[in-house]
Symmetry: C2
Subunit: 251 residues, 2 copies
């Protein structure tokens, strides 16, 4: 399984991804899921992958080595794109290409080749954008109303994002909230695991400000996990106990 | 959809259930899912239902009117049971009986008749117990290590229970935490909805101490939701911002 979230705020973009993959319950590995495509001061794009590792790795390979354009046949890498929109369409083309190849196998119907990507970034002089790209290659985009998107095991980490993230959130607070959201997921689902990869791109800088791997030894993240647990326990203690009793006529 | 949780602590048992049912996304109704079977001072049992409403309602009807024993053919109601174990087996028998009837239909394969129940309570002079009864009629039981069980849309509301509930939690704190867990689910999944039904059974009293319906106008629950949101926002503000930057050699 996987959990990745992307948060697009007024001053920047944050992406957080775990690294655990599993083939069944008893075959667990570590693979980077947050991939960076960068020409500093020109183009910065981050792609976070969830789903079939064979498909997501091959999609990433195509995007680095060249995807054939369905109309012209011309091969282009993700860094050849002239806009985030063109790049998002290219990711979709790469997904379809890999599916066409893999789904040709006689046994393919019995395998789940599903994938989903978060794709965010900015090209110089263009807008900072964040997309979620579906298995079919179509996509949606984060807006001021809904400034975060998630892929993979998203439910455990959604309540804190729902409550605390807005478009006006500071990028480092957004990163912190992404880590709190990840912490809830790590605790409740063993198939999401450390280390984490995080990226922070400040709007209009077109260069990553944070690009960090967080593992078990990371002091800040350990403190955040502990502080958050303590805070949650204290928060509920401040709420008075329920005043309810037995009402006549209740069934 | 549905969310119900049951929490078994040293001093009692709490059960919380929503009431929203949906046939598709555009057909929403309200049905009680927390059902009480009570002979005061003799037997108190609570059954919370998730899944196909046609199956859960018919299971409840059988349990009130009599389920045939698979061996003897004798009809017994849930209140005829002499132990929680016998009662849990009877719930399983009722599920199998309803499935045998409904799955006979030519179109049955296309319908999801799946159900899950939480079943808790105590008979005089016996132990207070909490079970989760699966679609096949088998069941598991809450223990001191894992004092809570959930059915339905369980993921949004799990992080707070994971962190804050233990066997030593006071029953009214457990009820409060069940309501916080429900609040997270209500916010994130529209198919879980108010009003709620809650029950609290103090150990060895064999009489419900709380049996309450909570709707939009409930002042305590409104305050709890608001207080919890404020507390979460404040909790993350107390955690310092991440110290991360760009490390050389990161991909």
């Amino acid at each position: 399984m996987t959990y990745c979230c992307g948060i697009l705020v007024r001053d920047g973009l944050v992406m957080v991804a775990d690294t655990r993959t599993n083939a069944g319950l008893d075959n667990i590995s570590t693979f980077r899921k947050l991939h960076l495509f960068e020409q500093p001061r020109e183009k910065v794009m981050m792609l976070a992958a969830a789903g079939s590792l064979s498909v997501t790795q091959t999609v990433i390979s195509y995007l680095r080595e060249g995807v054939p354009d369905p109309q012209t046949g011309e091969h282009k890498t993700l860094l050849d794109a002239h806009s985030m929109l063109e790049a998002a369409i290219m990711v979709g083309n790469a997904i379809r290409l890999v599916h066409q190849t893999f789904l040709n196998a006689p046994q393919a119907a019995q395998v789940d080749f599903g994938v989903t990507f978060l794709f965010g970034g900015q090209l110089a002089d263009l807008r900072l954008r964040l997309f979620m790209i579906y298995n079919e290659g179509n996509f949606i985009e984060a807006t001021e109303d809904t400034p975060y998107l998630q892929v993979g095991e998203h439910k455990y980490g959604k309540p804190i994002l729902d409550r605390a993230v807005s478009f006006d959130t500071d990028p480092y607070d957004a990163l912190k909230l992404g880590l709190v959201s990840m912490d809830s997921t790590l605790r409740s689902n063993l198939s999401v695991g450390l280390p984490l990869d995080v990226g922070l791109l400040r709007r209009d800088t077109v260069a990553l400000e944070v690009n960090q791997r967080i593992d078990e030894s990371d002091e800040y993240f350990s403190n955040l996990r502990e502080s958050w647990s303590v805070a949650l326990r204290e928060a509920h203690l401040k709420i008075p106990r329920p005043p309810y009793g037995v009402k006549d006529g209740q069934v």
